[in-house]
């Protein structure tokens, strides 16, 4: 037991001290934080005000284009040709030209610009024009825009699950999906990254020819388990550091740039609101109106719904089973990866043995969408108790609420699967690590398993 601790320590320390580990540990959170920060930063960069000149021959839109923080509209008096020639001189981002038509309402416009026009600008202009034209059409057919506004309804469908005890709980399918999928993906990534690390470690020991020196001091099984546990701890350390660093970076950034972020968010919100077809009266919304929409019953209710459905997920069960399947799945696959590493002489020979191991894992992710749609179907049930697929599939199912019998069955089978896999891997490992320069096939592996040791 003392020796296995020594092995775990070595496996852990040599990896944690490696330059690649340190670089990955620092780079990972920066990349993750970049996901949050870059959009804000880019928005800041793009924040310069864009000046759009309008030449409206129909005369319908002049006062409809309301300037925002980022887009300023300017009515041009000159004709199109002069404007086009002066586009750079007058610092115009674009010229919007709405030609006169024979139809009662115009259907098109032209946007001239020196550079490829920004999609947000395009979207904003199109939206205002559409609303205006819709309003014109409605009043032409005698419909009062106010009636239409009152017709607009937002439906909240609360899903309420009746548990076996007859209690009712609100649930949100979307949230369950998100939680399950994130857990499943994390397990998948962890197994692949660190399982492969175990395999490479075994191959390294074999090619360095140190393995026979070590197994004369410790049992091959101890060496294998020491490696698997050591690498698991490396992985957990890296994950923990990533989470901590990401939180630190993001929160530091937030506190530094909180003003910019809130203004960015509010401007986003404004644009979003103005794009809502609710404001059929042509963009002339007083600001209280926005406030009303924000604080109005609709949004409030959906916030409450989300809050309630968060409570509906049994996070104790989710977290505990996540830890269990995270570690259990890794150990199961780690043992199999170690067995593969022991059977080959170099990483290039691993392909043929990798396939049967990676297929169930990849299949779990491929089927994730299907399982989320039918979290209680027979496929979901069987895949979530089969040890090679259960780490991912069970985690996808759990946020939807899984009968305890299924969960316990899955856990028991996972433990049995883990024991079986380590037993099998141990057999292959102890023969494989001492075998050099031999092309191994499945028949050969089977012989190793049946050797008496």
């Amino acid at each position: 037991m003392n020796k296995i601790v020594l092995i775990i320590k070595r496996e852990y320390l040599t990896r944690v001290k490696k330059r690649s580990f340190i670089i990955m540990t620092i780079l990972g959170p920066i990349l993750m934080a970049a996901l949050f920060i870059v959009p804000v930063y880019i928005a800041e960069l793009e924040g310069e005000t864009k000046l759009v000149g309008i030449i409206d021959e129909t005369g319908l839109f002049y006062d409809k284009f309301r300037s925002t923080e980022n887009i300023k509209f300017l009515t041009l008096d000159s004709d199109l040709e002069t404007a086009k020639q002066n586009i750079t001189n007058e610092d115009l981002y674009a010229i919007l030209y709405i030609p006169k038509t024979e139809l009662s309402v115009p259907q098109s416009g032209m946007l001239y610009s020196a550079k490829q026009p920004n999609i947000v600008v395009k979207g904003y202009i199109k939206n205002i024009m559409r609303k205006e034209v819709e309003a014109l059409k409605l009043s032409a057919s005698g419909v009062d825009p106010d009636i239409l506004k009152s017709i607009k309804t937002n439906i909240n469908l609360f899903t309420i699950k009746i548990s076996e005890g007859g209690e009712e709980e609100k649930s949100s399918t979307e949230l369950s999906m998100a939680v399950g999928f994130i857990c499943g993906i994390l397990i998948y990534i962890f197994i692949f990254m660190y399982g492969a690390l175990v395999m490479r470690g075994v191959i390294e020991e074999k090619t360095n020819r140190i393995v026979e020196v070590i197994v004369s001091s410790v049992k091959p099984f101890q060496l294998m388990m020491g490696k698997i546990v050591g690498v698991a701890m490396v992985g957990l350390t890296q994950f923990a550091l990533w989470v901590i660093f990401t939180l630190i970076i993001v929160s530091t950034f937030m506190s530094f740039f909180s003003d910019e972020i809130s203004s960015y968010q509010s401007s986003q919100l404004k644009i979003h609101n103005e794009m809502l077809p609710v404001n059929t009266n042509g963009g002339e919304i007083p600001s209280e109106d926005i406030q009303n929409t924000l604080e109005g019953g609709d949004i409030n209710e959906s916030v409450i719904a989300i809050f309630e459905s968060i409570q509906s997920i049994n996070f104790e069960v989710v977290i505990l089973s996540f830890l269990f399947f995270f570690i259990g799945g890794y150990f199961l696959y780690g043992a199999l990866f170690a067995a593969i590493g022991s059977a080959v002489d170099s990483e290039t020979d691993t392909q043929q043995f990798m396939l049967p191991i990676t297929v169930p894992l990849i299949l779990s992710i491929v089927l994730a969408q299907f399982i989320m749609n039918n979290p209680d179907g027979p496929a979901a049930f069987w895949l979530s108790i089969f040890p090679l697929t259960s780490p991912v599939i069970m985690m996808i199912r759990i946020p939807f609420g899984v009968p305890y019998t299924d969960l316990y069955l899955s856990i028991v089978l996972m433990i049995l699967g883990f024991l079986g896999a380590t037993w099998l891997a141990g057999k292959i490992y102890r023969t494989g690590i001492l075998m050099y320069g031999k092309k191994i096939n499945y028949k050969e592996l089977w012989k190793w398993i049946t050797y008496k040791n």
Binding site: K3, L6, I7, R10, T14, K18, E204, E205, N208, R209, I210, E212, V213, I214, V215, S216, S217, V218, K219, P220, R430, L434, Y436, E444, K447, Y451, K452, N453
Partner: protein
């Protein structure tokens, strides 16, 4: 002399071939035991069984009259033929790790390692990575970690490969010194010269079976062919004319100042009979019995076994 290690009727079957077929060896304490045999004879399998890396299908193993068990691992030191070190690890760190796997405490291991590093004059390597060392340097480190826990039984599989002649001598001296201090060594090699030089006992394994075992001296005696080498001068007649047919001239040659001949004695005659026939015609300078080399014995036994 007490027996330190004994293997009785060890059989090991792999899928397609029998690696060991009822092999028994008995290794006396405080001696060097040569384990010889052609490639693929089963030596490495036997060594791995002694190290408890693999288990035999049948047969019994004893260490100091006790059944061989896992507690004995710490009393055995093993230098395998396929040996190496973690390339990316520092020499000192690695030596410490391997020593501690053998059951030494950290303080003990450090102290002993420092002594040995000093003895081999390699202190400067302590903080170097293994990959920066030459092959011979790595072998030295490997040797140290094999013997660091002062085991009662040492097993060396081709220990001299990768060493230059100076370091081979350094190693040989160390091995002999270990024996002096009471250690027992099982020594597997194809280098018959070093077997002659070092081994007290040998066992020869061929095609999974032990075909010869015993004291080197006894074996040589047993396999001697009653051949003598004579250096003489004053050659008055050709030896063929002198000797009766009880003696067979195997080889004759003229050296610078003397003549040399190898003669086998047959038909129950002895060396005095030979001398008696020779003395009237030649003056003898030297007269030696030719003992077979281990190389000869190895080759003839293995050929015989075909």
């Amino acid at each position: 002399m007490i027996t330190l290690f004994e293997a009785q009727n060890i059989t090991k079957q792999f899928a397609n071939h029998k690696a060991l077929d009822k092999v028994s060896i008995s290794v006396p304490g405080q001696s060097i035991f040569g384990l010889l045999g052609p490639n693929g004879a089963g030596k490495t399998t036997l060594i791995r069984i002694i190290n408890q890396i693999t288990a035999p299908d049948s047969g019994r193993l004893f260490f100091c009259d006790e059944k061989l068990q896992s507690k004995h691992i710490e009393k055995i030191g093993y230098l395998p033929e396929e040996r190496g070190l973690y390339k990316k690890m520092k020499v000192g760190e690695q030596a410490l790790y391997l020593a501690r796997l053998k059951g030494l405490s950290k303080a003990d291991a450090l102290k002993k390692l420092r002594e040995w590093f000093e003895k081999f004059e390699i202190q400067a390597w302590w903080n170097k990575k293994v990959e920066e060392l030459s092959k011979g340097m790595q072998q030295k480190v490997q040797f140290i970690v094999t013997i660091i826990h002062e085991p009662e039984l040492l097993i060396f599989d081709e220990p001299f490969s990768g060493f230059d002649p100076i370091n081979v001598n350094l190693l040989k001296d160390e091995i002999l010194r270990i024996k002096e201090n009471g250690g027992t060594i099982i020594f597997s090699t194809h280098n018959m010269a070093s077997v002659e030089e070092l081994c007290d006992h040998i066992a020869l394994i061929d095609k999974s079976k032990k075909i010869l075992e015993g004291r080197v001296k006894d074996i040589k005696k047993e396999y001697k062919s009653n051949t003598y080498e004579i250096n003489y001068t004053n050659r008055q007649k050709d030896l063929i004319e002198i000797l009766s047919n009880n003696f067979k001239i195997i080889e004759q040659a003229k050296e610078e100042d003397t003549f040399r001949a190898n003669i086998r004695i047959m038909n129950g005659k002895n060396q005095n009979d030979l001398l008696r026939e020779l003395l009237p015609y030649v003056s003898i300078h030297s007269f030696n019995e030719i003992l077979p080399t281990m190389n000869d014995i190895f080759i003839s036994k293995v050929k015989e076994n075909e």
